[in-house]
């Protein structure tokens, strides 16, 4: 490192300062307001987090396929039983969002099983 850059605080100084601060604050938190885990996650919340993880895994196949499937599953999981509503959420909405971003905002999405059909 050139000597001129050795003046003042170094790249590692400030992060260390912040980490020490977090450590001190954690001790203060334990003392004044400790974290109390009083109840377990309910099934709907846990299931929603799992669905988000499923979405993450499916993105490797196709982003929009993954979005549609996850959104539809989320709606069903959250007690939506009307098939036309689920279809609207799983098919119509992703298609509309894709067209909006592709045609209006000119965003190019990553290639996948479905997007390849559009991009050719």
């Amino acid at each position: 490192m050139p000597p001129i850059l050795k003046r003042g605080i170094q790249p590692s100084d400030f992060p260390q300062l912040i980490l020490i601060l977090i450590l001190i604050l954690t001790v203060a938190m334990i003392w004044f307001d400790p974290i109390i885990v009083d109840e377990r996650l309910d099934s709907k919340t846990l299931g929603s987090i799992v669905l988000l993880a499923v979405f993450g895994g499916l993105t490797f196949i196709d982003l929009f396929l993954s979005l549609g499937v996850t959104a539809a599953l989320l709606a069903i999981f959250w007690t939506e039983r009307r098939w036309y509503v689920v279809l609207g959420i799983g098919l119509m909405m992703p298609a509309l969002i894709f067209l909006l971003f592709d045609q209006v905002f000119e965003i190019r999405f990553p290639r996948g099983v479905l997007t390849n059909l559009w991009y050719g």
Partner: protein, 493 residues
């Protein structure tokens, strides 16, 4: 003066007017939907503004901020569920009044109070921001460092969470801001060899995650809540008796809201709580509060909308966000290459005044939208959660991807969303994280510049009057929450 007038003339652009109208309508819809508020609405809108020029982009964000803050009152009054946290106190008197068959009167009063509060705060913004900016011209790095530190210390007293938890959240945000290559030395920090982290963690995906996705997970646990809407014929403007009863309350709450908004990090929620309590304290009939007192609605609504203009003062003049939504707007400014601060009022004065005038216009727009369309917006409040949130999820993900067309940003949204949910679950507010993330880089830069300027004698910072003042204010802000909590407990008793 020239910029003041040219900013006003800029509003004549039909494209800008159309964008403002669309953002106002969108903001009212977002504010009216329980779970969605100005902050996560602005985070969702941000990616859509990327293809716009800076003025319409930022104007649409501030339009959404103002209109969503107002629209929280619609659900507060009609379904006893605050559309935004800032409208929680509006429920206390708005819903009882609606139950008595006076929903139209309650909404009319909320619209008028919000408009007056908003307009007065924008006038204050127009006067105070340039003055503050002129003052800030005398700041050198030590003063800026002390000021940024003061801004961060104010996070201790943010509504949710205890002071230590809020400060941990803020410090974590500052820490995240340090990820990436150090600009001065080109040393990589916490990148773990990933080129995706080379430029650091983008604050927009983090905000979409912590405000949007975390709320989605929170909503999963409230699916069983039944919402019933009180019927309403039409919105009624307040009559002369109503005005006579509430004009003092509106003016007082507007002042309170503007002042609270100007304080770094304090937003509309705190403003509405104090506005409501002061309305009750000064009322001749305090016993009617909680049973449909119109002063309660006016006090709460004027204060929360006045806080929007107030919050923009430190945001634009100093680059320190005045509220959580202002932090998202600050992120929008940075994404569009605009660095808020004193120079904005000399180098980009036209931009600044166009934004001010846009805010003024939006406050008048939602008066019209509220009076004519509240009945329609009231219907939107009953969109089922299981339909709304999967759509919000898709827009969040695609919006985050669209920023840099990077799947890495999608991952950041997901991870920060889950982290944000657990933070909220265990009592940590996510707002300090967002503000810390935005201010972190600035804080480090100013400290580095100060150390070079003062020849590494850091204690000399305390010998400079202005920086010493900010350090004292920082200590006051850190000790303040203890006294503040006692004051609020006493008021609510």
């Amino acid at each position: 003066m020239e910029a003041f007038l040219s900013g006003f003339i800029s509003l004549g652009d039909p494209k800008l007017l159309l964008i403002l109208l669309a953002a106002t309508l969108g903001g009212v819809v977002i504010g009216a939907l329980p779970g969605l508020n100005a902050t996560n609405g602005a985070a969702l809108l941000l990616p859509f503004t990327l293809s716009m020029e800076a003025i319409p982009a930022i104007a649409s964000l501030v339009a959404l901020y103002c209109s969503a803050t107002f629209a929280g009152a619609i659900t507060a009054i009609l379904i006893n569920t605050p559309g935004t946290p800032a409208s929680a106190t509006t429920c206390l008197d708005g819903y009882p009044l609606a139950q008595r068959g006076e929903a139209g009167r309650a909404l009319g009063l909320a619209v008028v109070s919000s408009t007056i509060g908003g307009v007065l705060s924008v006038i204050c913004l127009m006067l105070a921001a340039p003055l503050l900016a002129r003052m800030a011209y005398q700041f050198s790095p030590p003063e800026y460092f002390a000021l940024t530190l003061f801004g961060l210390s104010m996070l201790a007293s943010i509504g949710e969470g205890s002071p230590p938890k809020n400060l941990i959240s803020g410090a974590f945000g500052v820490f995240l801001a340090l990820v990436g290559v150090d600009m001065l030395t080109s040393v990589e920090r916490f990148t773990f060899g990933s080129h995706n982290l080379y430029d650091g963690i983008g604050f927009v995906p983090v905000m979409i995650g912590i405000f949007g996705i975390s709320e989605l997970i929170v909503q999963a646990s409230s699916l069983d809540k039944k919402r019933e809407r009180v019927s309403m014929k039409a919105v009624q403007l307040p009559n002369r008796d109503d005005y006579r009863k509430v004009w003092k309350t509106i003016l007082r709450s507007s002042g309170i809201g503007t002042f609270i908004g100007i304080l770094p990090a304090e937003g509309a929620t705190v403003a509405s709580m104090i506005g409501y309590n002061e309305a009750k304290r000064w009322s001749k009939t305090p016993e009617q509060f909680g049973n449909g007192a119109i002063e309660g609605i006016a006090g709460s609504e004027a204060a929360n909308n006045a806080a929007t203009g107030g919050a923009m003062v430190p945001t634009l003049a100093l680059g320190i966000p005045g509220s959580a939504t202002a932090a998202v707007i600050l992120a929008g400014l940075m994404v569009h290459g605009i660095r808020p601060g004193p120079s904005m009022f000399t180098e980009q004065a036209n931009f600044a005044y166009t934004i001010f005038w846009s805010m003024m216009l939006v406050n008048l727009m939602f008066l019209l939208v509220g009076l004519t369309g509240a009945k329609i917006f009231a219907r939107i409040t009953l969109i089922p959660t299981q339909v709304l949130w999967p759509c919000v999820f898709m827009i969040s993900i695609v919006g985050a991807y669209a920023l840099d067309q990077s799947m890495f940003d999608v991952w950041i949204v997901l991870i920060s969303g889950i982290i944000g949910f657990f933070m909220r679950r265990y009592g940590f507010s996510v707002v300090p994280l967002a503000i810390g993330l935005i201010l972190g880089e600035m804080l480090e830069q100013r400290l580095g510049q100060s150390m070079v300027m003062l020849d590494e004698k850091w204690w000399l910072m305390f010998t400079r009057p202005l920086s010493l003042l900010f350090f004292c204010l920082t200590i006051a802000a850190l000790l303040g929450p203890v006294l503040w909590t006692k004051y609020l407990v006493r008021l609510f008793k």
